[in-house]
Symmetry: C2
Subunit: 359 residues, 2 copies
């Protein structure tokens, strides 16, 4: 079998599982009256991502994955500093203008985010949503901006292939081969700057108009190399909650993006949505499927906090700014994976958070 070529379709039988359901007593969606403007965005990626089909949409492609540092962990932290500075600059603001930073990453104790926060004189809110972090930071920060508690916020999320492999699976030095269901952790950080819609520039920027916060879904997946299957039920669950709460259907959106389900996870999510009478067609794509080209052979596609973060702060925001998309859903998808928990025989629960952005 050629390495990485075989795309496994639906290896887990989902027909006997209970459908993704939502508690009708809970409205999971916060709809904003004014909406929160995304006035700046920046994405920085590694060589592999920079050699993929989205190449031209990223703000910066690093020359190598050390980014001038001695360790991959230090490189990841520097990428955060770089992306946050870049996003603030692209918003036409100075560092002192931004009140609060919301950030998270995949490293234990989210050190890349919190160590990067030392470089900025801002309040810092550490978020852990695994790979759903970009949507979660965007959602929580939008709530605080919409409510008028803060004026400007910067939100960011990111990951690094080398640090994530070492921490979650095996160090790269071992040269382990990945199984066909695996995904490739994206090396990249994305950052966005938010401001309240009462600002003068109100009409020209994409706006966050609603957020659907997710619940933890556990369908019993234990394979740490099959994150798509672990996360897909939660993505479908949160999307169904969004459609129900806002009384919309998939066709009401120009496009729906999930974060990093990969090809396999995207297929599972499509099936679950179709079973719940919310079928999606060409207007749904997973960012993990998009980020690498076919010739790059990255198994099921990209994963990691960075995957959705750089896609959002690259081509998605670009298309919203140009008016090519009027209204999209951005669904961060997280696998609540922990090596210790897995070694102790636990499953991998998933969680997804959905943000509606309109131009």
């Amino acid at each position: 079998m050629e390495r990485g070529k075989k795309e496994c379709k639906r290896p887990i039988d989902i027909s006997h599982k209970k459908q993704a359901q939502t508690n009708p007593r809970h409205n999971q969606t916060v709809v904003f009256k004014n909406g929160v403007q995304i006035i700046g965005g920046y994405s920085i990626v590694g060589q592999k991502e920079g050699g993929g089909p989205l190449k031209s949409t990223f703000s910066k492609i690093m020359e190598d994955e050390y980014f001038g540092e001695k360790t991959h962990e230090a490189a990841e932290q520097k990428m955060f500093e770089y992306a946050i500075r870049g996003a603030i600059k692209s918003a036409g603001l100075e560092r002192g203008d931004v009140d609060m930073m919301f950030s998270g990453d995949l490293l234990n104790q989210i050190t890349s985010s919190s160590f990067a926060a030392r470089s900025f004189d801002m309040m810092f809110i550490g978020i852990y949503g695994a790979c759903s972090t970009m949507a979660l930071t965007l959602g929580i920060a939008s709530c605080l901006v919409e409510a008028g508690f803060i004026k400007n916020a910067v939100v960011s999320a990111g990951s690094h292939f080398a640090t994530a492999e070492r921490q979650y699976r095996t160090p790269l030095e071992l040269g382990n081969q990945k199984p066909p269901n695996a995904q490739w952790t994206v090396t990249g950080v994305g950052a966005s700057v938010l401001t309240s819609s009462t600002s003068p520039s109100a009409s020209i920027h994409p706006r966050v108009t609603s957020v659907t916060f997710g619940k933890v879904c556990d369908w019993g997946v234990k394979d740490v190399n099959n994150m798509g299957a672990a996360m897909a039920p939660s993505a479908a669950h949160t999307l169904i909650a969004h459609f129900r709460d806002t009384n919309t259907k998939p066709e009401d959106y120009c496009h729906i993006f999930t974060g990093d389900l990969g090809k396999l996870g995207e297929n599972i999510c499509r099936d679950l949505l179709a079973n719940a009478n919310y079928p999606v067609d060409a207007n749904y794509t997973d960012c993990g499927r998009l980020i690498y080209g076919k010739s790059q052979n990255q198994y099921q596609g990209g994963s990691g906090c960075g995957c959705s973060a750089v896609c959002l702060n690259g081509f998605i925001l670009n298309k919203l700014r140009k008016g090519e998309y009027k209204k999209i859903l951005f669904v961060g998808t997280g696998a609540l994976l922990s090596p210790v928990a897995s070694f102790q025989g636990n499953t991998v629960p998933g969680i997804s958070h959905c943000v509606c952005i309109e131009s």
Copy 2:
């Protein structure tokens, strides 16, 4: 030297360090118009904590630190489930009445919180603020409740001595001795239930009236056994920001509690506050100093997310409910410690968040 008896006073010279300063352009404090009511609270602790001076204030003392589970990690998760259920019950609500759960812990990928979230049909927001997590979840959740985005929320934080030692330092089986500056991670989980002040029971519960979010402070401490020194500057920094933003002084509060600075950290914090012209006297105590008795010899005192969480949901809320305290400050103090970061030679930055609660 008798083990644990010697209290080291100010082993780091802070006189040459720049004072904890705040950017006068940033208001770090969100003052609520209505205030958010704390209508329920629950605390569960281990045997050691249950044998200390606060014994009578905890909701439940476990019989042993496995809590009927096979691993300490599973016990920690069960403690979360127990505390959250207990808090919801104490609020007179049912599980379906609570919309959103905010939680965090010290384990990598906050698995205790996110795995516990599977038992509850609620939206889940994962927070990582190290030991400041109780104050951070309380602060963020209060913002969302005050803004009317959600009606009822449960917030929780906790830690377990055995899981934290294994992850951050050395497994207990090695029998390592702790140095005199060390603290003892509290085995305990605290949970509180919040609701908006427009509820009928408005007047009888303690209310969160303002939140001061912290910035990351790094004074160069590298000793992973001296968390008090790593966190104290951030505690002083956030308190100074609170006093400045609200135009108050320490004497305007019945009591000020920091989370888990321990005896040494409390002394450093007192010095920093005095140098900034906000001297505190008998109206300031650190929860880490309170939780263990003198005869328990727990070095500088308690630490961990659980320390401040069980004190808040034990004696602090009790005294507020009885009207013995009219207005307090609760400051969660976090050391952004990561073993990988420490092995790579990094310092331990600190962060603290402050919540004002009135009865």
